[in-house]
Symmetry: C3
Subunit: 172 residues, 3 copies
Amino acid sequence: MKALITGGARSGKSRHALALAESLHPTRIFLATAEALDAEMAVRIDTHQRERGPEWVTIEEPLDLAPVLTRRHGHGHGDGGAVIVVDCLTLWLSNLMQAERDVPAEFARLTAAITAAQSSVVLVTNEVGFGIVPDSVLARSYRDHLGSLSQQVAAVCDRVVLVCAGLPLTLK
Amino acid sequence: MKALITGGARSGKSRHALALAESLHPTRIFLATAEALDAEMAVRIDTHQRERGPEWVTIEEPLDLAPVLTRRHGHGHGDGGAVIVVDCLTLWLSNLMQAERDVPAEFARLTAAITAAQSSVVLVTNEVGFGIVPDSVLARSYRDHLGSLSQQVAAVCDRVVLVCAGLPLTLK
Amino acid sequence: MKALITGGARSGKSRHALALAESLHPTRIFLATAEALDAEMAVRIDTHQRERGPEWVTIEEPLDLAPVLTRRHGHGHGDGGAVIVVDCLTLWLSNLMQAERDVPAEFARLTAAITAAQSSVVLVTNEVGFGIVPDSVLARSYRDHLGSLSQQVAAVCDRVVLVCAGLPLTLK
């Protein structure tokens, strides 16, 4: 199962992604695209980790998601699989742009890795294109890239869900 | 029946909420969170009131919604009930923040009152989290609070509807 | 068939509109509301035109959409009809406001023309009202007008689709 969970800010996307993942596989990996760059962030990341519980392994990776998705996980289980929650693509794109990576090439790497992954993958993203056109060139470029990423990832997923007010709306 | 109607700006949310309320009960209360702070606003509120028609009673309450929801309404009818339209939670949150109320405590009061209310309640809110992350700290805090409010209210409602281009999409 | 396709920026709306149009009629007209005001824009318009293929006729009209919709098209076919894709209402509204046209009157002209058109019409618009209230008066007025336009056009269409992550959600 490959799934994309999208929605607005504070819509309940991550909670929905975690619940879906928990229904899929006992070996659970949380692939966090946020980095603990300062003490406050470190505390927040630590809090989230404790909330998820001990059955979740957290991997922090701001940029190179593809190798984590295609790596063999879950040696303890016969199928060599796991479920990986990627939270979130919004921050990943921001990291890519800051690192001046080749964005379209990175999108192609990601979708290929999602398709190739033996594990189940649940990716979280945000809708950011339902507002007035932003003044900033960077913000416009960001929202264009993110819209394109959502379309590309949705195309290789089996399930796509829009979360609104904590409730899922199945798009695919 | 407890219902939450959400959607973008000028999507037809209020019209949908009024039509739903009119199908629910003959005793109709419009709980307005906007205040007539100046003459222009007073004219607008008056216009809306006349559009709703004489079978609607308007109560203006910017902050303390809970006691209005749990109060006994509709003495003229045997069931002691009514339908109350709360329009809108977006402005209510703005009023709470301006008055420096304890936002999470107020959310808990509201959801308890919705659950306890003998009357039917139809609440109107806005989706504000589908755009680029706002620059302003206040705007970010506002949209985080509103997203959380929508989730909490949706959880205690029987029906949740997203209105888009004047058309309802049932979430619950 | 009269259809409205809405969604966020880069959600796949135009692609969906073109695919729908191609399923409707062999005589295809692309009514572009964008104008080739400079060389860069001219190149972009030309690129899009080549992507659509030779079976599409492009008409550029920034303001007066109604006469194009009600005109007799497709003389080569027995039914005198065609399918017209209007891309997009968002830019059209922007053009109307810049030209200081009477916006409500123009909306009435458009919806009357959609209803009267012998051809199939597929209109593309954007959701812009799911963000924080914009600071600018002009942006607020724009999003109010666009929300109202979407409601009015949706009311005269047979089909209304919200596109999200490239996937259609049928509203009507």
